[in-house]
Structure formats: C-alpha cells, structure tokens
Amino acid sequence: MEHITLLIGIVIVTALVFDFTNGFHDTANAMATTISTGALGPRVAVAMSAVLNLVGAFLSVEVAKTISGGIIDEGSGIQPEVIFAGLVGAILWNLVTWLAGLPSSSSHALFGGLIGATVVSVGMDGVNGDAIVMKVLIPAVAAPVVAGIATVAATRLTYRLADNRAAEDTAKGYRAGQIASAALVSLAHGTNDAQKTMGVITLALVTGGVIAPDSDPPMWVIVSAGLAIALGTYLGGWRIIRTMGKGITDIQPPQGFAAQTGAATVILASSHIGFALSTTQVCSGAVMGAGVGRKGGVVRWSTAGRMVAAWALTLPAAGLVADAAALLDDHGNGGIAAVAVLAVLGCGVIWLLSRRKPVDASNVNAPGAESAEPVGVVTAAVRSVAPPPAGKTASAADATDGTDATDDADTSNAHASNVSGSTSGKDASSESAPTPATAGTGSTS
C-alpha cells in the first residue's frame, strides 16, 4: 500500500464520497413507501436499510469485477485523473437531483461522469457505444415499464381479493409483507451499488499500478465502501423519500406492499437473468404502477414528468460536469486541486440551499411538500372525500365528487383573491390609510 500516491488517495476519497451520496440517494428506493404507509418509522426504516446495505456489500464481488470493464475500455490509457473527474461529475449531479427531491439513478450518474471524462481525455475511442445502449439506455426505458405493469396487475389483484376485509386487519399483514420486500431491495442494493464503488476504487488502483489488473478488490476497499454506503443510507435522502413515498401518488398499505414486492421481484429477476435494470427506475415505476392500479388512486404526472426528465438528463449532465473537470485536470496538479476545491464549494452551496427548506425524519411524511402545486390540492381533496378501499364500487363516483368540490373551492378562492385585489386597488387609488375592516379582508385572503 506504500505505492498509493496523493492522487490515488484523492480518487479513493472521492469514490467513497460518491458511495455516500449513492446510499443517501437510494434510501428512497427501498424505504420511501415503507415510511409513507407507516410500516416502519422513518428512523427505524433507514437504520434497517443501512444495516442491510452493509451486509449486502460483503456478500459478493461479482459486480465489482465487471463494472469497470464494460463501458470504459480499461486498456485505452485511463488515468486516475479521469476517474476523479468522472466521480466529481457524478457526485454533483447526485446532489443537484437530491436538492430537487428527484430520484435519479446513481449508476447512470457514475456512468455519465466516467464517459464524459473519458471522452475529453482519451477521445471517443475509449467509450464503448454499444455497451452504453445495452447497459444504460434500454434498461432505463424498460425498467419502469416492466415494474409498472407488474405492479398495476398486482395492485388490482390484491384490492379485488381483499375487497370485503376490514382495512385495519389487513393493513398489519400488508405492512409486514412490505417490510420483507423492502429488506430484499435494500440487500440487493448493497450488493449492487456498494460494489460499483469498489469497482471504481479497484479500477483506480489498477490504473495507478498499485494492484495487478483483474484482481479482486482488497478487503479494506470492501469494508470502506460498505461503510460509506451504509452511512449515506442511514442519513437518508429525506427529500427523495418524500417524493417517492408521497409526491408521486398517495400510497396505502396494499399498494405499498404490491409496489415493493414488484420492485424486489423485478430487481432480482433482472439481475439473475442477466439483463440488469436500474434500481431507481424500477422502484419509481413500481410506485407509479401502484398509483394507477388502485381505483381512485391518483398519479401526479407532473411530478412523474419531472422525474423522467431528470432520468433523461442524468447521463449527459453528469458527463458535462465531468467534461469540464477533466479539462481542468489536464493542467497538472493545479488543475486537479482546482477541481477538488470547486467540487467542495459546489457541494457546500447545494447543502446551504437545502437548509432553506430542510426535509428530515420529522417532516418526511408531511403533506406540505407537493401542495404548492394545484394538482396536490386536488389530490388532497379527493383523498379526504373518498377513502378508496372502504368506498369499494362507489369510489369512482366519490372521486368525481371530490374533483367537483375542489373545482368549486378553486373558483371560490379565485373569487376571494379578486375581491381582495379590488379592495387593495381601491385603497391605493383613494390614497387613504386602510381602515381596520379592509386590512382584515386583505389578511384573510
């Protein structure tokens, strides 16, 4: 280990930081619906997920061995600087999407960053175009569709079968089942994503000549990668958890169970059959499917749309940041230092921005997040008017009633604001001090 240079050390630290953001970003995949249905308390849920991620990191090193070789051509002269630039791109994009509360794939950010940096420093030859399409594009499109359809079918089935059962009796069972499914997702995530970081660190060690090509990751790499992802998971990306658990649709215990089981099944089936699908897209697709599958369930397509836009942007955005970082890196040690400083500054700015509207374990289930959008208001009204499983056949009718009521409320609100607007206009034109009465009207609206 005495061969490790300062540069390799920086790359390893950066890779562990990426691993941390990865855990933090992907807690939502396993735990968002578990938290929003109340199957587990927020703190317990993230703690369980963290432990399972840590366990998962030790289970296998198969992914770590293949991650580096597939998309980037190891033999084309990749330097540690390039890996560093790629990681910086991936970390910054992960933090930006976290700030926006959007679940995007950490793996895609990593691939995008590595590809972007490779293109700048080695040229297009260093990138394997077919591998990008096969390993990134097709899985990203297929994952939400497969998971969504499976979950829609499962949600329909379970609501139909358990139609005449007491909701308070069934909720307990659904929650227990959901915890099991969520545990599987966490474990699978640990084996997959912690290993990606191990693969990157191993790649850095290989390119730096510290260890021989094609060797297994050393033990200290496995331990540190596992710990970094577990710590990130435990701190919890509460913003993303809120979007997945509450923002896309309102999840009830049967839906949460169906979505989490669908996600676990798709992840395991795909990795076992050898057509790996991205965890984030699978889980998001499953949540949307659960929303579609319930009668009276509402999917907020505006939120879903923003999420899909973030997915589409992930690869190019992380790639562009990495491009810029790689360009700076070319200017020797000063360039690398500049990239490091800029990256730390960028992370600091994003963290400061996040403090303006903090989301944590205490308010992750609060309905306030999406209610800024008019869609959220409509959904809240529908939900309060029509509790769907109890409504059975009448739920569709209830839902339309709810929409009507909301429309009424909207128009009356608009009316009220018109009134207050005209009142303040009058005040302004008469240039008189506002009387207590008009001041009161203004403040109530």
Partner: protein
C-alpha cells in the same frame, strides 16, 4: 448493435408472474387471517375459521420461501 430481446422478455414475464403470484398468495393469507368488514361485528368473536387460518399460514410460508429464494439469489 445487438439487443437481447429474449432476455428482456424473460425478465418481463418472470417479473409479472412472480409479482402477481406472490402478491396474490400473500393476499389470500391476509384474507384467511382477517375479519370481513361488516358494519355489525357478528363475526368478530370467532375471527377466521381454523381451516382458513391454516390455509393462510400455508400461504405465508410459501411467501417466506419465495423471500428465502430471493436472498439465495442475492448471495449466490
């Protein structure tokens, strides 16, 4: 460019079948162990019948086996 449609189709088929299967069986278990949602709780005293309860436990055991197989797939 070669896209492995067969593998993708297989993933889709297996995922759909297993998800619907597991959720269905688990729901049967839940039905076996819960009371019906009647306004007047005349069934509340006895709860589910012993036969239904046994069947429900069999359903849960089947689901547990599927989870165990899932863990086996992750480890192997």
């Amino acid at each position: 460019m070669h896209i492995d449609w067969a593998a993708l189709g297989q993933v889709f088929g297996v995922s759909l079948a297993v998800t619907v299967g597991v959720v269905g069986v688990f729901t049967l278990g839940i039905i076996g162990t819960s009371r019906t949602a009647q306004p007047q709780p005349q069934a509340a005293a006895g709860g589910a019948s012993p036969v239904a309860r046994t069947g429900a436990y069999a359903c849960f055991a089947l689901c547990a086996a599927v989870v165990a197989y899932g863990i086996y797939l992750i480890v192997a």
